[in-house]
């Protein structure tokens, strides 16, 4: 055993190191090639089942689940012809505009507020109770109130997205500042840094990974909430398409909308991971809240 790798390697995530050949096939971690093969086979099998179950003489009625080809045709049709007043691109743009707008707005408010709450105790005493009250209420429960206050325009949706995103922004920024090692701050003080320098150079920089993690969670929340908000109050957007397609029994369009919602959600998540690696490359992944 080389020094540094103790026998009780503390964390074991996922694959065991090296295949333990004394174990049966089912207990062994498959190698990379085998893993990919199994995964591909599984996807192919799922696709084949879908295709065969939805054939005209198949078990599943197309009203329950349409055949893959129909979904594809719906996608192509949506791309070229407007549906419910806008093309697919415009619907996507409408959704994105609101989600990014609400998210940025929440960051604009939440980030400084959270940092201030972590840094100045007085700010925390004043504003923390508000968030303690807001937190247990699901953002979706704000939708009716938002509609009552702001109508069914963009502002109601931005408001709901804002509510959903602002809590992780604030909580993570506060926690990030809170968990800074006091030694760092004292060291900077000893070296003659001013209060402002400490805040900008030491605190904000050390807290960066957690701040970005907060931004990621906020964006995820924002996206989830937007879809719900679009189901209730919208005249364009992916959630709006989905609900309308469900009412008019256009299963193909409904599935296309769901798939795009999923793909965009995945892109957000991947994009934020890349951003984390870019702004704070020293951070280890997985600052979960």
């Amino acid at each position: 055993m080389t020094p540094g790798t103790s026998a009780t390697s503390p964390r074991w995530t996922g694959p065991a190191t090296g295949a333990d050949l004394t174990l049966s096939f089912w207990r062994r971690e498959p190698g990379r090639a085998r893993w990919l093969a199994i995964a591909a086979a599984s996807l192919a099998a799922a696709g084949a089942i879908w295709w065969s179950a939805t054939r005209p003489e198949g078990l599943v009625s197309p009203l329950f689940l349409p055949p893959p080809l129909e979904v594809w045709e719906a996608f192509v049709r949506l791309l070229s012809r407007p549906y419910l007043g806008s093309t697919l691109g415009q619907h996507i743009a409408a959704s994105l505009r609101i989600v990014i707008g609400g998210w940025l707005l929440a960051g604009l408010v939440g980030l400084p507020l959270g940092i201030a709450m972590g840094w100045w105790k007085r700010v925390r005493w004043i504003s923390f109770p508000i968030f303690q009250i807001l937190r247990p209420v699901p953002p979706l429960a704000w939708i009716p109130l938002a509609i009552l206050w702001l109508g069914i325009g963009d502002s109601a949706r931005i408001f709901v997205v804002f509510i959903a995103a602002v809590v992780p922004w604030v909580m993570n920024s506060m926690q990030a500042v809170d968990s800074i090692d006091g030694i760092l701050v004292r060291a900077a003080l000893t070296l003659g840094a001013s209060d402002r320098q400490i805040l900008t150079r030491v605190v904000c920089r050390t807290a960066l990974p957690t701040l970005v993690a907060g931004a990621r969670i906020a964006l995820g929340n924002a996206w989830t909430t937007l879809v719900a908000a679009e189901l209730l109050a919208a005249t364009a957007g992916l959630g709006y398409i989905a609900l309308n397609a469900s009412r008019t029994l256009e299963m193909g369009i409904l599935l296309v909308a769901m798939a795009i919602i999923g793909v965009l959600g995945a892109l957000f998540s991947i994009g934020m991971h890349l951003v984390t690696r870019w702004v704070a490359p020293w951070a280890r992944s997985g600052v979960a809240t």
């Binding site: 089912w26 599984s42 699901p138 009716p144 009552l148 989830t224 029994l249 409904l254 769901m258």
Partner: protein
């Protein structure tokens, strides 16, 4: 402090119209009224019970499926390779995106609501269970094996007790996800429930009703979590191994 501000804002006439923000007294009055007489088909208690029922069904289903599957996925790696691609595809679709299709499949019934709760709770359930089991130090499993325990016994007597606290924390996340999703589902479809109550408040232009509903939802959510936390301390008093449950 906040209450005082709220009261002040509404007490000074013409500052904030009651249509936008009713005074605290109005909300309390509305609460008493809703608790006593039925609104939109049920009293406040009735709506809450309906919501809790739907939530219970969905969450129980998610647990019944998610726990064994999560354990199996961590224990049998090849199975993980089978399930991962499909799971990754589905994971990024938010629970509410399933509402329209659930309505088509199940109609405007309790099943639809419960299905949405299930979809919201299931991933947290399965991911955290898998994580919890996978993070148990393999040394323990090997030690048990050396001492002559078979796989089933190792799993039941060694792995699960160690993983249990983390699994439970995952369940708590799943339960609260389910509660949030239920509210969303009830806003869109359904004839009863707390989400329905606040959407009726919006239609009737009654901000007080909405606020009562929102408060009830928040309080119930907090209560559920508090009860679970207490249960965890009672049932699994030992400390979790260092493991972070996710979302």
């Amino acid at each position: 402090m906040l209450l005082l501000l709220w009261w002040l804002a509404t007490a000074i006439p013409e500052l904030v119209p009651p249509r936008v923000l009713p005074s605290p007294f109005d909300v309390v009055r509305r609460f008493v009224a809703l608790a006593g007489e039925p609104f939109s088909g049920a009293t406040l208690l009735g709506h809450a019970v309906v919501s809790l029922q739907r939530w219970g069904i969905g969450v129980l289903a998610a647990m019944a499926l998610g726990l064994p599957l999560g354990i199996a996925l961590a224990w049998l790696p090849p199975l993980r390779a089978v399930v991962t691609p499909g799971f990754e595809l589905m994971r990024y679709i938010p629970p509410f995106a399933w509402v329209p299709i659930a309505v088509l499949w199940f109609g405007a019934t309790t099943t639809t609501q419960a299905a949405i709760v299930f979809i919201a709770a299931f991933p947290a359930c399965i991911i955290n269970t898998q994580l919890a089991v996978a993070q148990v130090d393999p040394i323990l499993a090997r030690a048990a094996r050396t001492l002559g325990a078979g796989p089933a016994r190792t799993l039941a007597k060694v792995i699960l007790p160690v993983a249990a606290p983390t699994i439970f924390t995952g369940l708590r996340i799943a339960f609260s996800n389910g509660w949030m999703a239920l509210v969303g589902a009830e806003l869109v479809v359904g004839k009863q429930g707390l989400g329905f109550l606040i959407s009726q408040g919006q239609i009737n232009d009654s901000a007080a009703t909405i606020l009562v509903g929102m408060t009830t939802i928040g309080v119930l959510g907090t209560l559920i979590d508090a009860v679970l936390q207490r249960t965890q301390r009672l049932v699994l008093p030992w400390r979790p191994v260092a493991a972070r449950p996710t979302e």
